[in-house]
């Protein structure tokens, strides 16, 4: 996955009121140094542990982080399962290729997220929620309309995922999780644009067996 551009200050700059070169470099190059607390502190839970005045400890976690880890993990797991299903069940090559891409890229993202979540003390769930499980079971039963149903679900899932990641970028508190959301969001949009591009393609037209 390509990383997204970002421009971040970092916490040490708070300690040093004078402009320091390292901070300027971080601003200029968007380095991956810890992102300072730049949210609205009004929304921060009272008595949040602080590293310095106004700056929560980098590992601080809020409700948004918890929800993000849960939803992003289960969403990624679902993407992988459905992607594997698409590789097996889809006839149209472009749908199989999309499924393969989902397995690979959500797999990579999931590994990163699990590691960050583990460090943050928030174990990422392995499974899916009831709705995702039902969707997978439904898709597994489908035959002729598998591609349409799969791609329709992919559209909705990626719309929802983009919304979730945007929300974490704003509302989250844990710096590593927010950085993960920033870095991953462009790829979510890549997927969304790709599914919008391929969804209107009629799978029947791509099936060699049905070609005249």
């Amino acid at each position: 996955m390509r990383s997204s551009p970002t421009c971040s200050p970092f916490e040490d700059a708070v300690m040093n009121a004078t402009v320091n070169i390292a901070c300027l470099l971080a601003i200029a190059f968007g380095g991956g140094i810890a992102h300072a607390q730049t949210g609205n502190p009004a929304g921060q839970p009272a008595l949040t542990p602080e590293r310095r005045p106004g700056v929560p400890v980098a590992s601080a976690i809020n409700d948004a982080d918890r929800l993000f880890v849960q939803q992003a993990s289960m969403g990624g797991n679902a993407e992988m399962e459905l992607g594997r299903l698409a590789q097996r069940r889809a006839v149209a090559p472009f749908v199989r290729a999309f499924g393969e891409r989902m397995v690979a890229e959500h797999g990579d993202a999931g590994k990163k997220l699990r590691a960050i979540a583990r460090d943050a003390g928030l174990p990422a769930p392995d499974g899916q929620d009831a709705e995702q499980t039902a969707v997978a079971a439904d898709l597994a039963r489908r035959t002729s309309d598998f591609e349409e149903a799969y791609l329709q679900r992919q559209l909705a899932d990626h719309q929802r995922a983009a919304h979730l990641y945007e929300w974490e970028i704003d509302a989250g508190q844990n710096e590593a999780l927010k950085a993960f959301a920033r870095e991953t969001l462009p790829t979510i949009f890549d997927h969304l644009l790709e599914v919008r591009r391929i969804a209107p393609m009629r799978p029947d037209a791509a099936r060699p067996s049905k070609m005249p």
Binding site: R2, L67, D138, W167, L185
Partner: protein
Amino acid sequence: MRSVPLFGLVGLLAWQMPLAGPLPASATFRDLPRQSFDDVRRSDEATKAVVMQRQRGLIADRYDLADRPISGVMMSGGRKHVQGGVRVRLAGDMSWEELAALAPAEVAARDALPKGFLPLPHVKQATGGQVFPQEQIDELDRQEGRDLKRFDVDFDLPEAFTPEFPPPVYLTTHPELGDVSQGQLITLKNYYALMVGYLTPVQIDGLRLLLTPFPQEEFNLTEDRKSVEPSRGVACLDCHANFNTNAAFHQTPDVRPQAARFRLDTTSLRGMFNQQIHGSKRSLRSLEDFSEFEQRTAYFNGDQVSAQRKGVNLPERHDQTSLMAQMQNIIDFPPAPKLDAFGRLDPAQATAQELAGERVFFGHGRCAECHVPQTAFMDQQMHDLQLERFYRIGGTYNDLVTLPDGPIKTFTLRGIKDTPPYLHDGRLLTLADTVEFFNLVLRLGLNAGEKDALVTYLLAL
């Protein structure tokens, strides 16, 4: 491969149900504060230096901020020079000509779109809200003792790239007078003395309402504010200073979640009498509608729930918003002595360079297709420039997630030299920047001479 609509083919799916997102209400509504005012203020003040450093770093990275005025060109009041030259920095070693020669997909693939062409983040995206330039803060404090200073952020653009302050005021009802501001910022303290006799009773009371502060999201009497003292609020003309603009900025009320809300640069109210759609996104159809609804939007981010808690003022429709609208509708554009009644240059008065610019405006530049001179350089439409063809969407800059702008209202070009910065979010600092922007986005292929002529022409409007 034939294309057919997909969704018509798929019947009711077993699992098809409204995909209500898992996000809490705070993804749309404003949360109540979870800390005391003192704790919030302490945190905000402690991090303000870093927030400002980050934003100024981004701005310095994107733009050349040197003070380089165009020789001999002043804004209409004669109080401030107009800055010249292209200020957006190119990405890498590429020239503007080389960049403009690339196809949009190629610009995106090479990550070659100048970052100054991307949406400009609010100084503190997560908090947002109205941010006023220091000149406005100081003058209002001097006249009214009302403090518009925030403890969490300051204004972020250098003064060289904001409108002259205070701007002149021209009345359609008294074109013979010229600027009636007497060089002052019109406030609740001086408006009556300045305007009595020139305005009708309806107009002067409309002006009073436009100058009266009412509670706003960051300036109010509750603990959820960003002013040190409880605030009486803000007035319409705190941003639309003297009915022009002081470049105060905000975020669009029309988008959620917060990370996706783009910045809004205050628009001028000059020439409102000819404008038929209002709001960069909302396309409200009357100035009365807009004056009424700004209490929900500019004041409270389109969140009527928060507004109610903080003491929203809802102007009464037939006896308040109509007065406010009637006052706004008599604010004229600054004089443009070289334009005729149809908005065309008078060849007897215009220079050869200005006339050359007008030819580009109508011809190769395609500007007049939307900025129609006969209708005050507007077309009463919203257009989507589809800038996202030139970059990969979803990147985050200072907590703003960069997404397509979508359709935005066509703004007037009359008096355009008086209203930097440009575009709806103020991402372009000079008129030369706007020419380079549209040359790329509309794929015009203008040469250097055409670009220079266009800038000269725009200065005459």
